[in-house]
Structures are given as structure tokens and as C-alpha cells.
Symmetry: C2
Subunit: 206 residues, 2 copies
Amino acid sequence: MKTRGGGKKEISSEAAPSVRADARRNADALLRAALAVFTESGVDAPMRTIAAKAGVGVGTLYRRFPQRSDLIKAIIRRDLDAQVQAASTLAAKHGPGDALALWMGRLVDFVATKRDLGPALHSGDPAYQALPDFVLGQLTPVLRRLLDAAATSGVIRDDVDADELLNAGLRLATPVNGGDAAQARRMVALLTDGLRRSLSVPAVKE
Amino acid sequence: MKTRGGGKKEISSEAAPSVRADARRNADALLRAALAVFTESGVDAPMRTIAAKAGVGVGTLYRRFPQRSDLIKAIIRRDLDAQVQAASTLAAKHGPGDALALWMGRLVDFVATKRDLGPALHSGDPAYQALPDFVLGQLTPVLRRLLDAAATSGVIRDDVDADELLNAGLRLATPVNGGDAAQARRMVALLTDGLRRSLSVPAVKE
DNA sequence: CGAATATCCGGAACAACATTCCGTTTGTCA
DNA sequence: TGACAAACGGAATGTTGTTCCGGATATTCG
């Protein structure tokens, strides 16, 4: 990272065309505060608290991040990018089947690590509406490629949709109350196992 | 159902030792109103709205159902019981493997049918804290029996925990925004497929 | 360097809810 | 019917989301 000033490291990496210095400074402070507050008190923490911790008025907070989800989006951007990148890396180092399985397993690290990210993704709460669109929009194409490759090579069944699998994976990757990531990992692995070309789905009618 | 009075059908089936008549009447009205409001506006609907629809003051609502989750618990009790009963029925009519698969599939009908039940179960919101405990408490033992039977008979792997599987199933059973129950069904089936005694988990390290 | 001005800031103000509390009303029982 | 416990209702209080605008301040330009 090559930033001009020497002080604390910034969170928002992007350069700015013509933003006032204080504005940028405040945006960074807000992101830092939000991360801290979210981690300690969950993503539903009061906006006032975040603004206060950043030493800023709520007006400033709302101007920069009109929706709570904008704050979350900014915070997870890095990790989301990493998850996207991982697809290429894994595809290069492993066979199609393993690459897919490993990428799915990695979802746990992406979701389970950030407190409340999982619940927020699936809450249906309008305040977080933009989150699923954002995350799924980034990850679906990537997963689709892995999935197609694996299906084409014949190691997994070919009747599974990328959207659906991603949704399922993200749900399972969300740790239970108590934060047991290991359990989440096992469940995602179980799901992935179901992908491997099997005999057939038990077609029994109730 | 054998209730004394003839009027509208009651929701709370239980008999009462010595509750004032108006109290019971109000409790029923509240449950009916809550069901209607939840269905139309989601489980986050204002308490005032429910009280109003029941023709009752908020005080009465809070006295009878101190927590929002108490209202939900009362509403889903019937369906939860049905899900519990289904275990015995299925176990009697099908082999261990199919009984398990079918019961898991039935979770979708239990969860996906009641608007917002799924999200509420996994939200982590303290207001719903009691819900997971209640639902899991009822269903876990039942699933454990099905799971043990299937594992013993050798049709599925034996290293899966009932708690974990139930959690996973409930998550997948929750329909995506748009209420596609069919998709939920497919994902649960996929998970169930992963249970069938397979070659082995892909033990590749990243 | 010293205005001029486009930006940005702060926090009071308003609105929507959850939840509590207590004076009043109403069943129930003798 | 009268007395009393049980239940009711809704005003009152506290919390949080969100908006709005007078005031502060970087930046730019002469």
C-alpha cells in the first residue's frame, strides 16, 4: 500500500479524485470504528455508537454510508476479493473436483470469521438488502466456473445450479450461536460430498 | 377439538385450571391476530399492530406473551408437533435410510411454509433467542433416533452429529428471498446425499 | 497571504417502536 | 349483590433510525 501520509494505515484503499482531506479522514475513522463496534456488539449496533467511536456526528456517518449495508460492504470488500481470487489459484493447483471442494470450504473462512455477516446475509431485513446482491453478484460467476469445470470433467453431478449451491454454502458456512467454525466446515463438506456423482437421489415418495 | 363454547375455533388447545374467561379469549384473539400480521408483514411487525388487530391493549399482549418469541412458539407448536410425529410414521413405513431422507425433506414444509420462521431461527437476534432452543430441543432427539437407526443399518456414514445435521437442514430449508421452496428442497436433498456412505471426504489440504 | 466559496460537519429534531407501570375495569365466587 | 383478585388499557419513558440545515473549514484563486 503506498499512501502519502505516514500515520495510521488506511482502510479505504481507493484513491480519490477531489475529495476534501477531512472527508477522507472521517471515512477512514468511520470504517475503523464500525469494524470495532460490529466486532464487539454485532452488526445491529446503534449508528450513534459508531459515529461516537469515530469522533464524528451521525450526519457525517449517514452522508458517507447512507445504509448500514454500505458500511458492511466496505468492510468485507477485501475478504470478498480474496475469495474471488482464490478460485483461480485453486483451479490452477488442483483438479476440478478438489478445487471446487476447497473453494466451498473456504467460504467458511469468509463468512464465519466476520461476526454476524452470515445472519445479515440471510436476514431478509431491508437494511441489509444490498448485501446479498453484492456478495452473490461477486461470487456466483466464480463458483459457476468452478462448478462447470468439475461437472464437465465428470467428477460431480451436473444438475446443480451455481446460485443454489452458493446460497446453500453460505448458509452452512454461518456458524451456530457459539461460533463453532469447525462445525460449519463439516457441514459444508457434507454438502460438497453430496455433489460427487452418486448413485441417484432417493426418489421415494412420502 | 372439544371446546365448550361454540364460536370461532380456538388456537390455544390446552385446557386451563382457573383462568378468567376474558383472559383466555384475549389470548386466542392475540394468537389469531399475530398469525395474520406475521403472515402479512413478517415477524418483525410492530407489537402495537398485533395488539390493535386483536382489539386489545399492548399491556395485555405483553402480559400473556412477554417475548416476541413466545408468540411465535405458540403459533408453530402444532406444526412442530407434527414434525416430531412424522418421525415415527416414516420410520414405520420406510427403511432407515429413506425415513431419514424423507424426514429431512419434510423440514422444508415445516420451515419454508411459515413466513420468516427460518430467518428468525438463525438471526441471532436476542428477541428470538428462545426459538432455536425450543425448536432444536424438540427436534434433535427425534432426528438422533432416525440418524442412529440409519447409521446402524449401514446405509449412511456414522460420523455425523444430530445437532449439526439438524442445524444444517434447518438452514437449507429456509427459502431464499423469493420463497422458492423447491430450491430449498433440492438443497436439503443434496445435503442428505452427502450422508450416504461414500468413498471418503476429499482430504486435500489447501 | 487573505478572501471567496464549494464542501463537509455536527447534532438537534422528529418519527417509529419496545417495554413498563399503575389506575381502572371486570370476572368470579360466596 | 358485594367484595376482591385478576386482568385490562394505554399513557409514559427510553432507545434507535434518519433527516435537515446553520455553522465550520478545506481549497482555490487573486
